[in-house]
Symmetry: C2
Subunit: 107 residues, 2 copies
DNA sequence: TCTATTATTAAACAATTATTAAAATGACGG
DNA sequence: CCGTCATTTTAATAATTGTTTAATAATAGA
């Protein structure tokens, strides 16, 4: 279970065009992930800027990294994404995943 | 279907403590929604600041508003939330809602 | 109409974020 | 060790965001 602070952090990390694309790409890449440089080239973003975005994503726990020789591979971590989706579904969707139905009247 | 730009906008709108709480509260409130002032009081936020946050949320399409006498009632709109969840599930979760499984290797 | 109430807008400011360029770190092969 | 490659860090800057205060609408009731 994620705290609301963790959810806000994850939302912030994904609330930016470049980072949402990075995450999408890493999801498609699978558990092996992709080297930082290759990702930077693929996204047409400078390596320094890429590092900045990696930091935001990994601080939120959305990606992991591992060193392999001179390369650093990044990969998507689904745990936080799942936690975020669960939080939004339970707390912001009246508990109805696919069709957020009419919620109970409480005001 | 939401565009990635719409998804980023929705994520940005929710990627802030006060606004996530506003949305949560409005979901719990149901379709009748809640008056702006009451919500501001409940959240311990100044009316002006509240208006600022309302604007972000309604610009993203996450809430709607209606005038009723002197009051303006805000209510959660599930359409965009659903679209956002669908986008994240399909594009950022390898299509596996509740357990984002091991995705296909593409890199 | 005058006044009180409810909410939004505008202006000002502090704080945060995204980007770039330059310097620094760490890893490998000779 | 040296030099090079891959990445990160730092510093500087522009742009965006969140908050406050004051001013402005819009509505309702006396």
């Amino acid at each position: 279970m994620l705290t609301s602070t963790q959810v806000v952090e994850a939302l912030s990390a994904l609330a930016q065009h470049t980072r949402l694309e990075i995450y999408r790409l890493l999801v498609a890449c699978g558990p092996e992930g992709m080297a930082a440089g290759k990702l930077a080239e693929r996204m047409k973003v400078s390596p320094a800027n890429m590092s900045f975005h990696f930091k935001a994503l990994s601080h939120a726990g959305l990606i992991t990294s591992r060193q392999e020789g001179r390369f650093v591979y990044y990969a998507a971590n689904f745990t936080v994404m799942n936690g975020m989706l669960a939080y939004l579904t339970e707390n912001c969707c009246a508990g109805n995943p696919q069709d957020c139905a009419i919620p109970s009247q409480k005001c």
